[in-house]
């Protein structure tokens, strides 16, 4: 690990003052320290924000909830209000990492974790995300874990978070604080950028900004919420694909639907078009297959990752069957109640 200076910030102002292009925030540290050991990230200054007051609680915010950036993944998944009102978020978090990691990893840090693309991790290989302008070894390399949506000729990396997929399907927003104390609230699609020709830039955060909270809208009592993750082993592995769904029924017909997909894009990938095609229809296998079939990437996927497309479609159909009552619900599919 390269040497760095360490600063324990006691308030958000002190943290903002110490930030800059050569500095990195550290909170849970579970991803950053791994990357620093491998010298994939080499910050000159670490700003420890874990002692800043007021970032570690989950509080009511209008009809919704405000989740402090330092709330651990374990605490968020276990919170009774989240389990009742936002079960898809609990399920998404519990599908990720290990018990030890979830105890340490934070809400803000989870959003900012880096890709697990093997070429990002191998400092001997070209990677525009790690070393801008060097090229993308993944394009001609092996690519089982790569993204299929939102990629560019400069980067094929997938975002690894499960939690972020749960947040995307719930329409959560990210609260960001600048050095002068000004707050911005961003939808996840405004927070995350697509790689384009600058894969090293992953969010719209300015160097002096920190994530202070994630805000959930009002719970959707009565909706069925599901998170299904497909991976190479039963636990502690990143998603090949995942599907998050919030489905409201309107009598025998499908009402409002929200969908988001993990493991397939450089950010949690929204399934708004597919969701729109389902609204108002009677649940039916052929309908689900037709809607899922409309999922098509703009660019041809890397040959090794092309299997993700049929896998995603089939996983989506399976989730929709359970969420609309055509099949019995399995663990991962829950009925949302009023947040208790």
């Amino acid at each position: 690990m390269r040497d760095f200076t360490y600063l324990r910030a006691t308030d958000a102002d002190a943290a903002a003052e110490a930030l800059g292009p050569e500095a990195s925030i550290i909170a849970g540290g579970t991803n950053l320290l791994d990357l620093m050991k491998l010298q994939i990230m080499t910050p000159e200054r670490l700003v420890d924000i874990t002692r800043i007051d007021g970032l570690s609680t989950i509080e009511e915010d209008g009809d919704g909830l405000r989740i402090g950036a330092l709330v651990s993944n374990a605490a968020l998944a276990a919170d009774s209000r989240i389990r009742a009102g936002y079960p898809v978020l609990s399920r998404a978090i519990l599908a990720g990492a290990s018990g030890q990691i979830r105890n340490k990893a934070t809400t803000g840090g989870n959003l900012l974790q880096r890709t697990r693309c093997p070429y990002f991790y191998d400092t001997a290989m070209a990677c525009n995300k790690r070393a801008p302008g060097t090229g993308c070894a993944a394009q001609e390399g092996a690519g089982r874990m790569l993204a299929v949506f939102g990629t560019s000729e400069h980067c094929l990396a997938a975002h690894p978070s499960d939690m972020a997929v749960g947040l995307r399907v719930l329409g959560a927003t990210v609260e960001v604080r600048a050095a002068d104390g000004a707050l911005r609230t961003l939808a996840l699609d405004e927070f995350y950028t697509l790689p384009g020709d600058r894969p090293d830039i992953e969010t719209t955060l300015a160097p002096d900004e920190i994530i202070t909270a994630v805000v959930l809208p009002a719970p959707r009592a009565g909706s069925v919420q599901a998170y299904r993750k497909v991976r190479d082993r039963a636990s502690y592995a990143f998603a090949l694909v995942s599907v998050a769904a919030v489905v409201e029924m309107d009598g025998d017909r499908i009402g409002k639907v929200d969908l988001a997909f993990g493991g397939v894009g450089p950010r949690p990938w929204a399934g708004d078009d597919v969701a729109a095609a389902l609204a108002g229809e009677t649940p039916d296998e052929a309908l689900f297959r037709r809607a899922a079939g409309a999922l098509e990437p703009d660019r041809a996927p890397h040959p090794d990752a092309a299997f993700k497309l049929p896998l995603l479609r089939r996983t989506l159909v399976a989730v929709l069957r359970e969420a609309t009552g055509l099949a019995e619900a399995s663990p991962g599919t829950d009925h949302a109640k009023d947040a208790a």
Partner: protein, 167 residues
């Protein structure tokens, strides 16, 4: 730099490089070599300790970040004469072969049983609200952050089940 933390109930003052992981601080500075370094990247769980009562990977955190915190290692869990229920169950069930992962398995299981008692659900729990039974799939899921290269998993699960019944 200097950091003071409480390890196994005793206040310890460290003089260390800023880069020192909590794991290296425990092993190399305090001589508490019961906690093992396997992968050093959070994948194997051999370095699992309790930080303020919660299980974490000691390799993925900096000693500098833990001023005033409370750490429990395998040395603080019991002694050969007075073992913790999990330590005792691992001996009874032969929950190891080479033993390298054992301290991490026991520390992780200690934290895991406390999580279960608090009603924390897991990925395989049928319900998010009704608590979880101590089934083999639950134990396997909740212990997936601990690898055993000898693959003593059946006996590890047995030991954890035995210790949980004792409580």
């Amino acid at each position: 730099m200097q950091t003071t933390l409480t390890v196994n109930g005793e206040e310890r003052r460290l003089d260390h490089d800023v880069r020192t992981s909590l794991l290296d601080a425990l092993r190399d500075h305090l001589g508490l070599t019961g906690t093992k370094k396997g992968c050093d990247h959070g994948q194997c769980g051999a370095c699992t300790i309790l930080l303020n009562g919660k299980r974490i990977n000691a390799c993925l955190t900096l000693a500098a970040m833990h001023e005033g915190d409370e750490v429990t290692t395998i040395e603080g869990l019991g002694t050969p004469e007075a073992m913790s229920p999990l330590q005792s169950a691992f001996v009874t069930c032969d929950g190891y072969q080479c033993g390298f992962c054992t301290a991490g398995q026991i520390m992780s299981a200690t934290g895991m049983l406390a999580e279960l008692k608090e009603g924390m659900p897991s990925h395989v729990s049928p319900s998010l609200s009704e608590g979880s039974e101590m089934t083999d799939p639950e134990v396997a899921e909740r212990m997936s952050g601990n690898l055993c290269r000898c693959s003593a998993y059946p006996f590890i699960r047995e030991a954890i089940a035995m210790a949980s019944e004792d409580k």
